[in-house]
C-alpha cells in the first residue's frame, strides 16, 4: 500500500467502528502492520525470497463488566474491511452477555495522543540483491534480510489516538568457516548505508579469522567469564517470562520472588530500566496508555519497580506504570559500568569469553537459574589474550549469581541489540546493554 494509506485506512475504520458503538460500550482498536521484503540466504546465495503485506486489526469490546476481543486481517479495501470489522463487533456484542463478569476490567485510556512517523532509505526489493550480495561473495553466510515499513496504531472510544510508523531493515547473519566455526552479527537501521554495511561484513570476517585457531575443549566447571552484550541481551530477555511482571510476582511464578519476598539483592553494579528515550519503540500499549519515558526496575541491585499493567494494578490495588497487559519488557536498558572495552581481555585474564548465548530457558525459576548454550565466537582466554575458540558448552547458573555476587564489572559502552524476530510479524523492540565480567559462571556439559 502507498505511504499513508494504512494510517488513512486505520482512521476510517476507527471512525466507523466508534460511531457504531452504543452508549454502554467501550472499544479499543489496535493495528499491527508491515510491508516486508524477506530474503533468506544460505552459503551467501538465495534460498527463499518474497514479499508480505500484512496488517491486522484488534478489537476489544467492553460492555459493563464484561469484555471480549477479536483480531482480523485487513485487506486494504476500506469498504470490505469495514464490513468485516463491523461483523466482528457484532460477534463480540453477541458473545459478551454470555461471559463471566470481570472484576478487574480496565477501560481504555482517555484523550491521549501521539504520532511518530520516521521514513528512511530502504533498498528496493527488486534490486536489493545488487547491494547485499557483492560484499559477501566467497563467504559462507547464512541469514535473513527483512526490510520494509512497520506500523502500529491505537484508537479508542475514549478519544485516544496513537500512530507509529517506521522504516526498518535488518540483515541478521552468521558467517561460517570451513571448520564450522561461526560468528553472528546484525546490520540494522532505517537508512541504508552501503559503506556501513560493507564495514559490518568486513568486521565479521575479521572476527571469523580469530576462530581459525584449533578448538580448545574445556571441562564442565566454574569459570571466570566475560559475556558480551549480545549474550547479556539474551539473559535479560528471560526477565520478560516469569520475570519482572507484577502479575507473575503475585502468582508465585516470578524468578524475582526471592528479591520481593526474601529481601535478596543483586550486585550494586546491576541496574536495569525500561527506557523509551531512543524513540524506536512505541510507548503506547494495547489500551492506549503511554508508558513513562523511563522506569527504573532494578537500581544498584535493588528491585525498585516491576512492570505493572493497569489490569494488575486494579486487581491488587496498585498504581499502574502502564505496562502492556502481558507485562513484558518492551525497551530494556541495562546501565553501563566502568570496564573499558579495550580492557576486557586483560581484566578477564584467564577464563572464557562468550559472544553469544543460545536457547535459554529457566531450569529452576524460583532460584533464578537459567540454562542455555554458548554459541558462535566463544574463546578461551589466558594471560589476557585469546588462545582459541572453545567447543560449545551448556551453562546452568542463576542470575542471583551472574547479576549478583559473581558480577565483577560491567563494560562502559552500551550496544543496541535489535529485536529481529519475525514470529507472526516483524519485531520492533530493542535492548541496550553492556557486557559483563563474572568472577565465576557455571558450565555444565
Amino acid at each position: 500500500m502507498d505511504r499513508g494509506a494504512i494510517e488513512q485506512l486505520f482512521d476510517q475504520l476507527a471512525g466507523g467502528l466508534i460511531d457504531a458503538l452504543r452508549s454502554d460500550e467501550h472499544l479499543s482498536l489496535s493495528l499491527r502492520g508491515e510491508s516486508s521484503h524477506f530474503c533468506r540466504f544460505n552459503a551467501a546465495r538465495i534460498r527463499q525470497t518474497g514479499l508480505v503485506e500484512d496488517s491486522s486489526l484488534d478489537l476489544e469490546l467492553i460492555i459493563g463488566q464484561r469484555r471480549a476481543s477479536s483480531a482480523i486481517s485487513l485487506s486494504g479495501n476500506a469498504d470490505l474491511d469495514m464490513q468485516y470489522a463491523l461483523a466482528e463487533l457484532n460477534r463480540l456484542r453477541a458473545e459478551i452477555p454470555q461471559l463471566l463478569e470481570d472484576p478487574y476490567i480496565v477501560l481504555p485510556a482517555s484523550g491521549q495522543a501521539s504520532r511518530s512517523i520516521s521514513h528512511g532509505q530502504l533498498l528496493d526489493p527488486a534490486t536489493s540483491t545488487q547491494h547485499l550480495l557483492p560484499p559477501i561473495q566467497g563467504i559462507d553466510l547464512a541469514g535473513i534480510w527483512a526490510s520494509g515499513r512497520i506500523y502500529r496504531g491505537h484508537a479508542n472510544s475514549l478519544g485516544s489516538r496513537h500512530w507509529f510508523e517506521t522504516d526498518r531493515f535488518a540483515l541478521d547473519y552468521s558467517l561460517v568457516s570451513p571448520q564450522e566455526k561461526m560468528v553472528k552479527a546484525t546490520y540494522a537501521g532505517s537508512d541504508w548505508n552501503q559503506a556501513e554495511y560493507e564495514a559490518s561484513i568486513a568486521a565479521s570476517v575479521n572476527r571469523l579469522r580469530l576462530l581459525d585457531k584449533p578448538t580448545i575443549t574445556i571441562k564442565p566447571g566454574q569459570y571466570r567469564t566475560f559475556i558480551a552484550a549480545a549474550g547479556v541481551a539474551d539473559l535479560l530477555s528471560m526477565f520478560s517470562w516469569h520475570g519482572l511482571s507484577e502479575l507473575s510476582l503475585r502468582t508465585g511464578e516470578s524468578a524475582f520472588l526471592r528479591m520481593r519476598e526474601g529481601g535478596e539483592t543483586l550486585s550494586a553494579l546491576f541496574s536495569l530500566a525500561e527506557d523509551f528515550s531512543h524513540g524506536q519503540v512505541p510507548r503506547f500499549n494495547d489500551i492506549g496508555e503511554v508508558a513513562p519515558q523511563r522506569l527504573e526496575l532494578i537500581r544498584a541491585g535493588q528491585l525498585e519497580n516491576s512492570l505493572v499493567s493497569s489490569r494488575t494494578a486494579r486487581e491488587y490495588g496498585l498504581e499502574s506504570n502502564f505496562a502492556a497487559e502481558h507485562e513484558a519488557l518492551r525497551s530494556p536498558r541495562m546501565a553501563p559500568g566502568e570496564l573499558d572495552e579495550a580492557d576486557v581481555l586483560n581484566s578477564l585474564g584467564e577464563g572464557v569469553y562468550l559472544s553469544n548465548l543460545h536457547y535459554l530457558n529457566w531450569s529452576d525459576s524460583s532460584n533464578g537459574r537459567i540454562t542455555g548454550m554458548t554459541r558462535y565466537a566463544c574463546f578461551w582466554v589466558a594471560d589476557g589474550e585469546i588462545q582459541g575458540p572453545i567447543a560449545n558448552m551448556r551453562f546452568d547458573d542463576s542470575f542471583y549469581h551472574f547479576f549478583g555476587d559473581n558480577l565483577q564489572a560491567v563494560s562502559s559502552s552500551l550496544q543496541l541489540i535489535p529485536d529481529v524476530e519475525t514470529y507472526g510479524s516483524r519485531g520492533l523492540g530493542l535492548t541496550e546493554c553492556p557486557g559483563i565480567l563474572l568472577e565465576s559462571f557455571a558450565l555444565t556439559l
Partner: protein, 477 residues
C-alpha cells in the same frame, strides 16, 4: 474462495504458479483463579502467490483477496524471482510441485460450536476450582484453544487441494507455594493436550479429575525432596517423551537444517548427509515413524503445502537412520530420501521442512515391567524446561514431577527433576520401550523454526521409555 478461477485469470510470465489460501479462525479462552482473562477470536486469512521463474521460487503474500491484487502480487513475485535467479542456492523445476488433487478433513464428532461461550467459560471456572485443592495453591490457570483452519492450494500444473483442520487444545495448571518454595504442576505439560478433535475429547468428569490430580501433585511437590544429583536409570513418561523426540530426533533430522538453511537461527545438525542408511541413532529398540495419517493426531494431513501426498515412513528402524524430514526441494538438493513435510504456518510465510507427526513406535514392555526392572532410577513426567544446542546434541530438559524408583518400586516423590545428555549417546542408552497399551498421543502446538520465523503444529506419540545411566539433578532449593 474461487482460487482456481483467480489462477485462471492470472497473466504472469512464470514457469509455474501456485496459490495457497489460508483462512485460520482460532478462539482462545483463559480463566485464572476462576476469573476471565481472555475470550479472544483471531481470524487471519490471505493468499500466498508462489511463482517459479528461471529456477527460483519467490512469493508474495497479501490479505487482499481481490483478483487484481493477486495479479499484482504474482507480477511482483516473478520480478524478485528473476532478480534472485542468478544467485539461487539451487535451480528448481516444477517437479518439486507435483500436480495433486484431493481433500482432507479432521475427524471430529462434536463440533466446536456445540458448546456456547458461557459453557466453555464455566468449564474453565470448574477447572480452576478443581486445580485449587488447598490454600497452598496460589494460582490456577485453565485454557482452551480451538482452531478451524481451511487451506486451499491450486497450481498452474493442475493441483487442486482442500484441507480443513479442526484443532482443540487445553491447558490446566496449578501453582503451589509454601514460603520460598514454589512448584507448578499441569495436566501433561502446557498444551501437550492438543489434537485434531472436537469437544468429544473433553469429557468433563475426566477433565476435572485430571485437574484435581494436578493440584494435589503441585501441593505434594512443595514438601518433596529435590531430585538427587547423580546418574541413574531414567524412565520418561509419554508427556516428556514428546519433547525428547521433538528436540533430539525431529529437529536434527530436518534436511533443510542439515543443508544449512537454518544455521543463522535454530542451528545446524549433528547428522550429516552420509549418515543416512548407516548411523546407529539409537538402540535396536528405537523405531521412529513419520506418520501424518494417525487419526486425530495434531499434525495429520493428506498433502503438504507443495501438494506432495503423505505416506507413513520409518525414519529410524531398529535404531538405524533411514530417511530425513525433508520435502521434495530438500530431497532434490541433497539426494536424500525424505517425506512430505513442507509446510507453512499460514498464508504469510513460505513453506519449509517441518516435522509432522513424529512418533516412537511401541515396544513390548509394560510400564510395570519397566519399573520392576530398575534397581535405582527416576520416573519423570510432563515437560517444564527445554534447551538444546544448535547441533541438537547437548540437551537439558526439566520436568514437573518425578518419582524415585528403588528396587523395582516407585517410592518417594521428587521435585525439580532435570536431566541432561547428548542426543546420540542418550538414544543408544534406550533399554526398554513401553507396549501399545502405554502408548499416548500428544501435540506440540508451538514449534518455532525458520526465517522469517514460523510457529507450527506438530504431533508426537510415544510409550514410556527407559534409558540407562542418565545424568539427573535437582534445583538449588
Amino acid at each position: 474462495m474461487d482460487l482456481a478461477g483467480i489462477l485462471d485469470r492470472l497473466d504472469v510470465n512464470a514457469d509455474w504458479v501456485g496459490l495457497r489460501y489460508v483462512d485460520d479462525h482460532s478462539t482462545w479462552r483463559w480463566v485464572r483463579d476462576g476469573r476471565p482473562q481472555l475470550n479472544q477470536h483471531n481470524r487471519s486469512r490471505g493468499i500466498m502467490v508462489e511463482v517459479l521463474a528461471e529456477g527460483q521460487f519467490a512469493y508474495a503474500a497479501s490479505a487482499n483477496l481481490d483478483p487484481a491484487a493477486v495479479q499484482q502480487a504474482a507480477v511482483k513475485a516473478t520480478a524478485i524471482a528473476r532478480a534472485a535467479s542468478a544467485h539461487a542456492v539451487y535451480h528448481f523445476s516444477s517437479d518439486v510441485r507435483p500436480p495433486a488433487s484431493g481433500s482432507y478433513i479432521s475427524p471430529i464428532e462434536q463440533s466446536a460450536d456445540s458448546l456456547s461461550p458461557a459453557e466453555l467459560n464455566q468449564l474453565l471456572v470448574k477447572s480452576c476450582a478443581s486445580l485449587k485443592v488447598s490454600d497452598k495453591v496460589v494460582a490456577t490457570h485453565a485454557m482452551l484453544r480451538r482452531v478451524n483452519s481451511q487451506h486451499q492450494f491450486v497450481s498452474s500444473n493442475g493441483s487442486n487441494i482442500e484441507q480443513q483442520f479442526f484443532i482443540l487444545s487445553s491447558a490446566s495448571q496449578a501453582i503451589a507455594q509454601d514460603g520460598p518454595v514454589v512448584q507448578q504442576r499441569s495436566v501433561n505439560g502446557m498444551f501437550a493436550r492438543s489434537w485434531q478433535a472436537g469437544f468429544e475429547i473433553l469429557d468433563e468428569d475426566q477433565h476435572l479429575a485430571r485437574c484435581r490430580q494436578a493440584g494435589e501433585q503441585a501441593v505434594e511437590l512443595l514438601s518433596a525432596e529435590d531430585c538427587p544429583n547423580t546418574s541413574m536409570d531414567l524412565l520418561l513418561a509419554p508427556d516428556q517423551m514428546l519433547l525428547q523426540i521433538h528436540e533430539s530426533v525431529g529437529h536434527p533430522l530436518e534436511i533443510d537444517r542439515i543443508l544449512g538453511d537454518e544455521r543463522n537461527y535454530a542451528g545446524w545438525s549433528f547428522v550429516r548427509p552420509e549418515d543416512f542408511g548407516r548411523l546407529r541413532y539409537g538402540s535396536e529398540l528405537m523405531n521412529i515413524t513419520f506418520d501424518p495419517e494417525v487419526p486425530g493426531q495434531l499434525a495429520s494431513y493428506r498433502f503438504d503445502c507443495t501438494g506432495n501426498p503423505t505416506q507413513r515412513q520409518y525414519i529410524i528402524k531398529d535404531g538405524i537412520l533411514q530417511r530425513g524430514l525433508g520435502g521434495l526441494e530438500s530431497q532434490q538438493r541433497s539426494g536424500l530420501p525424505g517425506v512430505a513435510n513442507v509446510r507453512a504456518c499460514s498464508w504469510n510465510r513460505p513453506p519449509i521442512d517441518r516435522m509432522a507427526n513424529l512418533n516412537l513406535e511401541p515396544g513390548d514392555s509394560s510400564l510395570e515391567d519397566m519399573i520392576g526392572s530398575v534397581e535405582k532410577g527416576v520416573l519423570m513426567e510432563s515437560n517444564r524446561s527445554w534447551s538444546i544446542d544448535d547441533y541438537r546434541n547437548k540437551f537439558q530438559f526439566g520436568c514437573e514431577y518425578a518419582r524415585l524408583i528403588e528396587n523395582g518400586r516407585l517410592t518417594r516423590t521428587l521435585r525439580n527433576p532435570n536431566y541432561r545428555g547428548i542426543s546420540s549417546s542418550f538414544w543408544n542408552s534406550l533399554k526398554a520401550v513401553g507396549n501399545r497399551d502405554s502408548f499416548a498421543v500428544f501435540g506440540v502446538p508451538n514449534c518455532g523454526k525458520g526465517e522469517p520465523n514460523q510457529v507450527i503444529r506438530v504431533g508426537h506419540a510415544s510409550p514410556p521409555c527407559l534409558f540407562a545411566d542418565v545424568e539427573v539433578f535437582g534445583g538449588d532449593g
